[in-house]
Amino acid sequence: MKRPQHLLSISDLGTDGIAEVLRVAEAFAEVERRSVRKVPTLRGKAVATLFFEESTRTRLSFETAAKRLSADVLSLAVAGSSVKKGESLRDTVETVEAMGIDAIIIRHGSSGAPHRVAQWATRARVINAGDGWHEHPTQALLDCFTVRQVLAERKGAVPEELGIDCFAGLRVLIVGDIRHSRVARSEVLAYSALGAKVTLVAPGSLLPPSLEGWPVTVAPDFDAALGDADVVSLLRLQAERGSGSYVPSLREYTAGWGLTARRVELLGEDAIVTHPGPMVRGVEIASDVADLPRTVATQQVTNGVAVRMAILFLLLGGEWPGADRHD
């Protein structure tokens, strides 16, 4: 099994690694259900969040996770930092590391920024909390975790018992702005590593320029694809990355690619709808659809904390079983 130093991409984990994260996250989900939702596991460790892009849930989720593990959390508000005075990313990272930070959680508008940070970091572990169009690994992990939770609940089983077998042959349909979506990239890697069959559906302009090497198929017709989906993963139009100019208008986008009340009827009875948030009601998802029991966006947010606790624990405190250690 791979034993990554950092979590930069889903591919750092491999199938066994993803399975391990899901298993450990289940133990942390139990901590979340207690009345005292805190364990002393990472006492004395310090975690810094460096968010060069705005975020509500990811940042809160990571900070909550770190605090539940008793780690100290420092968050750098870029707007009020020396970055505004022209300090480079490298110098910022070196400054943070010089303070004895054990993990750097970074979100950056440029794809690959966390990889650079990982090269510069000498002892801190680096966690990618979303980089440009590239990846958002913890989001994909919590999506998988949530899907398994729902499948287990329906079977009246404990999620752990399902292992990762429940993903074998699972039909996942990813819809929308795939071109600009880091969530889509991480989801494709995670779901397919677990054995699911991933299909993409999007306007041609919002598909990546090349899908070579991606373990996916592209569905020509959204309506037709809905009936065959076990999981529908909706994505937000990334307006801040210029998606607006890739579609004629939001209304037309909704008409063609939004999950409307009519389209929901085309879904199988058991199909699950996921959304990484923030949802833009009325664009990629109709407001009524967002509130259906099959839409698990809120559950995803809840699970995000447990999954991020697992990641922090595995990188900072735990050990990847079976991994060879040479030190």
Binding site: V24, E26, A27, E30, V31, R34, S35, V36, K38, V39, P40, T41, L42, L69, V158, E160, F313, L316, G317, G318, E319, P321, R325
Partner: protein
């Protein structure tokens, strides 16, 4: 923590090679019966008693004790499971991973908590368990039941109910399972 699990983790990694049997399965059952009677005697019944098995070695023993206690007192007893991985003091020093999900679905405030584990060794698992129990409420008392006390304590912890005291060498290994209790050594792979 079951020593069986310890054997899978470094720096103690290796294969458990059994040398001799310490307790046969019927002897384990008799020990559990005696310990259950001691629990009843000491607490004057089992009204406020809850059993908490430590994952994973202590859980089956806790379930068996609950069954016996149920027969003695003609009532049913609640059994919780506790994984202490998150409370250990050696996180980062050796591989520590949760083995199973904790399940203590009640407030322990005012209860008499009997922790059940298979082997008592350094006492560090129990130290971690005491911290964990505290997070589920302020128990009126916490007692400790172990099948084997093998000595070599590193902390001021002692058991209240013991199946068998077993003097061991530090490098030996004790295994509690369906085949009874065995002592052996860890051979490198």
């Amino acid at each position: 923590m079951a020593e069986r699990e310890r054997s899978h983790t470094r720096p103690l990694g290796g294969v458990f090679v059994a040398r001799s049997q310490v307790l046969s399965p019927p002897e384990v059952q008799r020990a559990l019966t005696r310990m259950s009677h001691e629990v009843v005697e000491r607490n004057g019944g089992i009204d406020d008693v809850v059993l908490v098995g430590l994952q994973t070695g202590g859980v089956p023993l806790a379930r068996r004790m609950a069954e016996i206690l149920g027969q003695i007192e003609e009532t049913s007893l609640r059994v919780g499971c506790l994984d202490v991985a998150f409370y250990r003091d050696d996180i980062g020093l050796r591989p520590v991973l949760p083995e199973a999900v904790t399940d203590v679905p009640w407030d322990l405030t005012g209860k008499v908590v009997v922790l059940v584990d298979d082997v008592l060794f350094t006492g560090r698992t129990i130290r971690a368990a005491l911290n964990a129990v505290n997070d589920f409420g302020r128990a009126r008392a916490v007692q400790l039941a172990v099948m084997i006390d093998r000595g070599h304590r590193e902390l001021p912890i002692r058991p209240d109910y013991v199946g068998k005291n077993l003097p061991t060498r530090r490098d030996e290994m004790v295994d509690v399972g369906d085949e009874g209790v065995w002592i052996g050594t860890l051979e490198s792979r």
